[in-house]
Amino acid sequence: MSLPSRLDSQQRQGAAQDAAPDERPILQVRNLNKRFGDGCAHCLPAHVEHPGNRCPRCGSVQACIDLNFDLYPGEILGVVGESGSGKSTMVRSLYFDEDATSGEMFISSCKNGESNLLAESAQQKRYIRNHVMGMVYQNPYLGLRMSYSSSGNIAEKLFAADHFHVGRIRERAAELLGRVEIPLGRMDEPPKRFSGGMQQRVQISKALANNPPLLLLDEVTTGLDLSVQARVLDLIRSLRRELKVAMVVVSHDLGVIRMLADRTMVLRQGRIIEMGLTDQILEDPQHAYTQLLVHSLL
């Protein structure tokens, strides 16, 4: 699969500038690859499909292969695929939780969108994680410090942004927690005492602490019961509307994707096999695998 390079797409945008001047992608991902394991001379090249993407010689696994996509301001991009398709690895690589093996990532609000953020120093990456991106994990234990207070969890993000005024930090924490409907009386309770849905909402408010223009959500509603799931979905939609945050939403649940995503990407064995408008992907899937996936929907 060969998609236009970043330069090409910029030129194309230049041509379309009159029609839509605000259409500059906030996130551009080019040829993102992630391999688990060291790789060896016998590993098959990335473009060759083989079961499990696992090298029989060295056991290395290609989890993400040549991923290319753009995300626009205020847009929600859905990522679907079965377990092991590389969905989580993709967002974790974007959030620098995993070191991408190769590839480029550009964010328009960061260094003017001209620097490949995957190649930045550890300090720069930390800055980007705190200011430019927010991440919400499926497992709240990954995103929260469970035994510290909820307001403290948000404060931690604000410290990273050099805010050291307790009064103002608490105001901001109250504002954020109020936004995700955590009662103010409970803002100093540790998240471990909260229900799963509340933990997810605290995690979302923590991710939003420094007003990032980009939010990555990895299976945030998985494991929540249906009514709680509905509230979290509504929250995500209203956040997008009010804060104009762009989001990458990873889910194996097509219902969640239908409710949230403007566009959807289908991953299989680490490759993007189809990408398009969400309703088109769900109602008129082109690829055999997507059809199988959609038709398995209850």
Partner: protein
Amino acid sequence: MLEVVNLTKSFELHVSQVGKVYPIQGLSFHIRQGRFLGIAGPSGIGKSTILKCIFRTYMPSSGEVWYDSLHEGRVDLAQADDRQMIRLRERELGYVSQFLKVIPRVPAVDIVAERLLPLGWSQDDARREAERMLERLRIPRKLWQAFPATFSGGEQQRVNLARAFIVRPRLMILDEPTASLDRETTSAVIEMLQAMKREGTTMVGIFHDWDVMEQVADEILDITLSGGGTMRPKPAAAGAQAE
């Protein structure tokens, strides 16, 4: 306003091994600004497929769907990129299906108001406008704050219509919007469609009910079994009522 040229849509079903299905083949028609085109034909012949190809829920297999956009010039909807479709759907295209698909546990009024927010409306203005819309579609005031999932089929369908009408799209695509409505509500919907037509909205739609079709349509497109279609003016008999 909308010109469909040689539209073909085939479905290749990889899963069930039926092979290729061609509901629409070489279909051409056009709609002029402010007109209402009704699509007629026996059930299962692919009427909805045409509408979905225009709205790009279905990806046309070949052919062109030219739309004169207010903001983006003349656009081939069959070729437009996803982002352009998203913009057009936000501002210019409306689509009403037979089913309401929304996030559960959001009050009806917010579901309707939500459509205005990307267009720059404030939360309060949008909510007031949504209430006006629900009023017009005769949804009882006590249901405004309730969740649509608990509504009857007819009430859900009216919320669905309110969601589509509130943004006043330039081109309205209607896929059996009156299917589950009672007589009174149906006439309310017809009144609304006629009012929108007077305001200059171009519309294309399918109605299971021939009476409704006669009341609103200016022209009828008959779909034939071969997947093509022929245009004819609306039957004169019902004309007086609609004009």
